[in-house]
Point group: C2
Chain length 189, copies 2
DNA sequence: TCACAATACTCAAGAATATGAGTAATAGCG
DNA sequence: CGCTATTACTCATATTCTTGAGTATTGTGA
């Protein structure tokens, strides 16, 4: 039931069409939710039907007409209710971790490659998050921004995403290194 | 398609019944997969039908008969294939992060409480992981264990789970602190 | 100019996950 | 002696998420 709330939260940043949302959602939700365009369109339709968001059609000259959605007061109230409801424990689902958990000498090579690949992906995300955060806080330093900025939510969650990716990158590199050394030791014998 | 592989990986630690697996799965998978007992029983049934695990009935005197499952050679081969297949990018799904992202003065109080609660949960997990890791490496220090231990997969993923929970706890406490300060500043004006 | 990418969506079907309700026996506690 | 917890599972349904296939128009590079 929480994609619903993730979409509402995303629309707090300003009205958006389904298409725009689909492009920015994964990045904007900084690592703690993910959805395909089809799900987003569907969810937007439902949210509008329930009166939590409202859409307005924008007729464009050169592009198809789009519908921009924004959160209604009922939507804000729903987010309030959501905030007060008890949160389900979070969970990650990560194929790569399963591969590492099951790793043995036969699969080590493939796993090492994927760890390195993942470290690169994480590094790219770190860049994106850092740029976003710089832009958000502008001239102020972080502490000042967090004390006085309004709508600091996206910044706070981006901070979490940033650290998560830093940990991911570090762990992937270290784990790949350990597995490489074990492969080498194995080959010697 | 990966609960399947998570269960296979879990059974590498030794044969287990559905019931035992259900109790240890969430903890053992150290934060990167989660499943309810019903799903696990179902998956075990499918895995057995596909010949990737085999079960043997153990008749107990005072308890109902249980079935212990272990990974077959076909199961090991399937894990190999899985390791070589390209991994889907991981994703987290976390209600609490959505709440933080949408946080405003109205919802701050509820969100602070949940952040503090989450920090405690994370601390409890950290304890569990640390104890598991100590037990695993025994007398050896970590480096030595990782160099020479066999089946280091569970240790490596536990390490990741540990750091993840440490980050979670830190971030939750810091974020709660920031929100508290803003509440106080708000009340002053 | 011609294919290909981008904008802006929709619909249907399928796989994976979650929820709720049972069954049935024994163990331990007061 | 009755109550609840534990062991050990099963079945059915509901929700959620993913996948694949479309539609229709416009902008852009070779």
């Amino acid at each position: 039931m929480a994609l619903r709330h993730a979409v509402l939260a995303a629309l707090l940043d300003g009205e958006s069409s389904g298409y725009e949302l689909a492009k920015t959602f994964d990045a904007g939700m900084a690592n703690f939710w993910h959805a395909l365009p089809q799900q987003l369109y569907l969810e937007l339709t439902k949210l509008e039907k329930d009166g939590l968001i409202q859409g307005r059609a924008v007729i464009q000259e050169t592009r198809p007409t789009k519908r921009l959605f924004s959160v209604t007061n009922a939507g804000l109230a729903e987010l309030e209710r959501f905030a007060e409801s008890s949160a389900k424990p979070a969970f990650i689902r990560d194929d790569l971790l399963i591969k590492v958990r099951a790793v043995d000498s036969a699969s080590a090579k493939a796993v090492i490659e994927q760890l390195e690949e993942r470290a690169l992906i994480a590094a790219a995300k770190i860049d994106i998050f850092e740029r976003y955060m710089e832009r958000q806080r502008g001239d102020a330093d972080e502490q000042a921004f967090l004390n006085s900025g309004d709508r600091i939510g996206p910044y706070l969650t981006c901070l979490r995403g940033l650290r998560y990716e830093q940990e991911t990158a570090d762990w992937c590199r270290q784990t790949a290194q350990i597995l490489r050394e074990r492969c080498a030791a194995n080959a010697d014998t």
